[in-house]
Point group: C2
Chain length 152, copies 2
């Protein structure tokens, strides 16, 4: 099968997801890019941080905003290995992220192409461009292996 090469930020998000799995967290990774440069990388960490909001996207967005000294991430793109949930999709809108690239779809918990489809809602003040399925196979494999190991 011929594939497009994985964009470098998604490769970094997948590497972060693997680090998350090694740390016992659900393997999801996220990266924020501005002007072609990665300015924040994070993986899920609610268990270690005792923080129910510590999804990869949230941590990457917060780190990027702190780095830029701004409550908004205008001109920034987000790469994340899994379709964002309602919390993270809402944060993406508050942050004014321009483009969202994600890997695996999440029919149960996703809020972009599933469930409330937050970016498509009429009342949405900000609608990022979204691109799905980038690095999908590896992103989904990481999650499957993680949950299979925990069930076993």
């Amino acid at each position: 099968m011929t594939r497009w090469p994985l964009p470098e930020p998604m490769a970094q998000a997948l590497a972060a997801a693997r680090q998350g799995a090694d740390a016992g967290e659900v393997p999801v990774g996220a990266v924020v890019v501005k002007d072609g440069e990665v300015i924040a990388v994070a993986h899920n960490a609610p268990r270690a941080m005792h923080d129910p909001t510590a999804h990869a996207e949230m941590l990457a967005i917060r780190a990027a905003a702190a780095k830029l000294g701004d409550e908004r991430l205008a001109g920034c793109d987000l790469y994340v290995t899994l379709e964002p949930c309602p919390m993270c999709a809402g944060a993406i809108q508050h942050a004014r992220i321009g483009r969202v690239y994600y890997g695996a779809s999440d029919p149960k918990g996703g809020a972009v192409e599933h469930g409330p489809r937050l970016f498509d809602r009429l009342e949405s003040l900000h609608r990022p461009e979204t691109y799905a399925g980038i690095g999908e196979d590896e992103a989904a494999s990481l999650l499957r292996e993680f949950f299979a190991a925990r069930r076993g």
Copy 2:
């Protein structure tokens, strides 16, 4: 007009909202209660913190989880002066908050009785009990005055 007395946690959430306004933040306050005791209080602070996720509910939930040393807030209730947005409603679900009491409704940005109505969705894994309109008049006045002053 006869009124029920305002529950003490909502009075504290309103006081936090006023502090937010004094600090130049959109006046929304939130309180987490466990076993009748207030364990976290916060107001909106995205401007000061350079953090697009720093809504009152998020900060109160994170502070409560840190205090309890747990990624979930089972047995905790949240009082917030404004109907939660999708980000905060999602965080409330991740945190497994039992009851949500809120003041003013938010037809444009709310996600509980408006917009995606996240707690009513079939795919929702956690549905807190919700009670609206508690301290509504004062909560709404604070917001109206804040935005009127900024427009002036």
